[in-house]
Amino acid sequence: DQQVKQNSPSLSVQEGRISILNCDYTNSMFDYFLWYKKYPAEGPTFLISISSIKDKNEDGRFTVFLNKSAKHLSLHIVPSQPGDSAVYFCAAGVGTSGTYKYIFGTGTRLKVLA
């Protein structure tokens, strides 16, 4: 049973527009969430995180929103750039500082069209 779900396997967006990637989770014990970006033949690289005490975190073009009541988080990329084309994984975790165990979603492949 998938505790973290990314229901859209792929997404195509025009350059300059907003990309919205969604993630749902089932376990209310999760209290820290991450987004990773992955290019082919490379390991995932950290993008942005959010703690359950917040509902929004912003870093440049990337914003993550958390809706705890709906157990839903989303990643907004604006404006989208061709270099953003990659697979994006969300991860939900429980633990203590420095030792979090994360459950990852299956990923969404984003393609930004020039």
């Binding site: 990314q6 820290y32 991450l34 990773y36 033949a41 490379e42 390991g43 995932p44 690289t45 950290f46 995180s49 994984f89 991860a91 975790g93 633990g95 500082s97 420095g98 030792t99 979090y100 165990k101 994360y102 459950i103 990852f104 979603g105 299956t106 990923g107």
Partner: protein, 114 residues
């Protein structure tokens, strides 16, 4: 430039053979994670260690997989005997105090079992 290293990057073997994958975590990180990426399951957590002690290996098939940390600079994941269904990309990640709950991934080992 601190990064997680993994060897080998690619491994092709025949069914029944032993496979050993190695990971060198970032110096100073005290948690090490092993993940497997498949098309259907995304990133699955196989096992993780804190201060070299195994904390959770519930994601691993116990009869054929084993994970160890002989010292703080080396983590190993062994499959014996290997099967075609083990074909996947195996990632190691490290983290720990001062990393803001983030995990840093290595480039992965692509395993093909014929």
């Amino acid at each position: 430039d601190a990064r997680v290293t993994q060897t080998p990057r690619h491994k092709v073997t025949e069914m029944g053979q032993e496979v050993t994958m190695r990971c060198q975590p970032i110096l100073g990180h005290n948690t090490v994670f092993w993940y497997r990426q498949t098309m259907m399951q995304g990133l699955e957590l196989l096992a993780y260690f804190r201060n070299r002690a195994p904390l959770d290996d519930s994601g691993m098939p116990k009869d054929r997989f084993s994970a160890e940390m002989p010292d703080a600079t080396l983590a190993t994941l062994k499959i014996q005997p290997s099967e075609p269904r083990d074909s996947a990309v195996y990632f190691c990640a490290s983290g720990g105090p001062g990393t803001d709950n983030e995990q840093f991934f290595g480039p992965g080992t692509r395993l093909t079992v014929l």
